[in-house]
């Protein structure tokens, strides 16, 4: 794919066998706590003592059962929610609100139905008041990267669920953020489409060199995509374990049937609790 999409001077392709140079973390969470007051006025802890560093270019997956606070954690990292206590630093600076160095892919594609595919991808450019003309070609390149060349002037209702989420991914990348946050983006897709999207995402990540934090409740997805898998326990959400996945890249779908893959999956399932807790 075009070099213009590869950005920020960081390495594009990488190999997991080469240890990453010790560099300051791109995003660093220290002792994050999130509590809220429920309707019966009792204080409920959603997240407890979350500490997590993500290195530049790293793909970290966060797996946990429903209601473990994964989405809360992502909203904090996106600057959409202030943690009750703890500190969060992005590129060394404390996070006080949404940053243009972050792109978010939500659970639903959240496309604007009155805008074409291209105009949806250009939305961040308009809102951030970036130069429209120069980002126009970047948006087209990104649509090519996510496999939607030729769909620029379609409207969201003309696309399938998987295609809409691809548009959402292109939109999250268009303003060239350093960090890509993804909140169970493929959860609503059927199993086949989901696997195809995982492969695509791995390729896009390798070509773009972005740092990715990816939330999922699928253990297989977490192992397949992640350099590291953060395992969260429920109520309040804590980091139960961080599993480093030493599998080469690019990974293909056959890998999911292999013994090594099974070993990782089993290990994560055990960490999730006595019965594996996931649905």
């Amino acid at each position: 794919m075009s070099d213009r999409v590869i950005t920020s001077g960081r390495e594009g392709l990488r190999d997991a066998s080469i240890p990453q140079a010790p560099s300051p973390p791109l995003i660093s969470a220290a002792a994050l706590n999130q509590t809220y007051v429920s309707q019966d006025r009792s204080v409920v802890a959603a997240l407890a003592d979350i500490s997590l560093d993500i290195a530049p270019g790293e793909f970290v997956t966060i797996v946990g059962p429903s209601g473990c606070g994964k989405t809360t954690l992502l909203r904090i990292m996106a600057g959409l929610l202030r943690p009750t206590s703890g500190t969060l630093r992005l590129l060394g600076r404390p996070v006080t609100g949404p940053s243009r160095n972050v792109g978010v892919v939500f659970q639903d594609p959240v496309l604007l139905p009155w805008r074409t595919v291209l105009d949806n991808v250009m939305l961040p450019v308009q809102v951030l008041r970036l130069d429209r003309r120069s980002y126009h070609s970047r948006a087209l390149d990104l649509l090519g990267l996510v496999g939607l060349a030729g769909f620029e002037s379609k409207y969201p209702h003309e696309l399938s669920g998987g295609m809409r989420q691809r548009v959402s991914l292109a939109r999250a990348l268009v303003h060239d953020p350093a960090l890509l946050l993804m909140d169970e983006p493929f959860g609503a897709l059927d199993a086949m489409t989901r696997e195809a999207m995982n492969l695509e995402l791995q390729r896009i990540w390798q070509e773009s060199g972005k740092t990715v934090a990816f939330i999922t409740h699928s253990i297989a997805e977490a192992v397949f995509l992640g350099d590291r898998v953060v395992v969260m326990s429920p109520r309040p959400g804590r980091v139960a374990d961080v599993v480093t996945v030493s599998l080469g890249r690019p990974r293909d779908l056959d890998l999911m049937a292999s013994d090594v893959f099974g070993v990782y999956a089993r290990k994560i399932r055990q960490r999730l609790g006595p019965r594996g807790l996931l649905e």
Binding site: L80, S99, V104, F106, V110, L112, P113, V127
Partner: protein, 262 residues
């Protein structure tokens, strides 16, 4: 071919059938029982009255007056409804200050104000335009407010994630998102504006279809009254269809729904 089409859409045949049976029964009843035409004219008499009125241009001159009153009233209602609704939905202080008055005005039967407006503004067009605007205003206002307040949270989160300003969020998301509601309100408003114009003409007027109904009423020309009612129904349907065509063009991404009456 025809049989299969009818089998799939039986109502395509039943709708005209109901009409024919209804009109034939009406005609038959009037003729068999010799019902006086000042009580219930036969459909054929109504058709004759309509034909005569249309060919003499009498109906069209009056209809034109009513259309102008209704459309101008509708335009005033649409503009003020959208502007005021936007201010109420977007600014908490405006909402808190104005909402009690809005509710009070809404519970008031607007038609009851018509005689007063005729006293103030006279028998001409302006009193009818104001009454039409008053009646058509609330469906627009209510739908604008509801539409602007029903943005789904993920879209707002998306805009927040780009640190969008309030104006950007309004322009890119909240306003276009409200358009299906706005058009539902406008669709009701255009029909209501005809109602307002007719009521205004009843109260005091020199021309218009409402005035014509009163003239026929005095003359016991019941067939003429029915003919004007048919004309009013046709006018209402035409305005509704025009609104729907505009709506389909402007909000191509949504189907008409979310109607909130007033």
């Amino acid at each position: 071919m025809i049989r299969r089409a009818v089998g799939r859409h039986p109502h395509a045949l039943l709708i005209p059938l109901v009409f024919v049976v209804f009109v034939a029964t009406w005609e038959g009843t009037v003729r068999v029982w010799r019902i006086a035409d000042y009580l219930l004219p036969a459909p054929s008499d109504i058709a004759r009255a309509l034909g005569a009125g249309l060919s003499s241009r009498l109906y069209l001159e009056h209809a034109w007056v009513t259309v102008i009153e209704a459309l101008l009233g509708f335009l005033i209602a649409a503009v003020t409804g959208v502007v005021l609704g936007t201010l109420i939905a977007q600014f908490r202080l405006v909402e808190r200050t104005l909402y009690p008055y809005v509710v009070a005005l809404q519970t008031l039967p607007k038609i009851a104000v018509a005689p007063l407006l005729v006293v103030w503004l006279g028998f001409g067009l302006s009193s009818k335009i104001v009454i039409a605007a008053l009646v058509a205003f609330f469906p627009v206002l209510v739908n604008v407010i509801v539409g602007l307040k029903t943005v789904d949270a993920p879209k707002l989160d998306l805009m927040r994630s780009f640190s969008a300003t309030r104006w950007q969020t309004f322009r890119f998301v909240t306003f276009p998102n409200a358009l299906p509601f706005v058009f539902a309100g406008l669709d009701i408003a255009i029909v209501f504006s005809v109602l307002g114009a007719i009521v205004g003409e009843f109260v005091g007027s020199q021309r218009g279809l409402g005035n014509l109904i009163l003239q026929f009423n005095t003359a016991l020309d019941i067939a003429g009254m029915f003919a004007v009612l048919l004309l009013l129904a046709a006018l209402g349907v035409a305005l509704h269809l025009i609104m729907q065509a505009i709506q389909r063009y402007v909000i191509f991404w949504a189907q008409p729904n979310h109607v909130i009456g007033a």
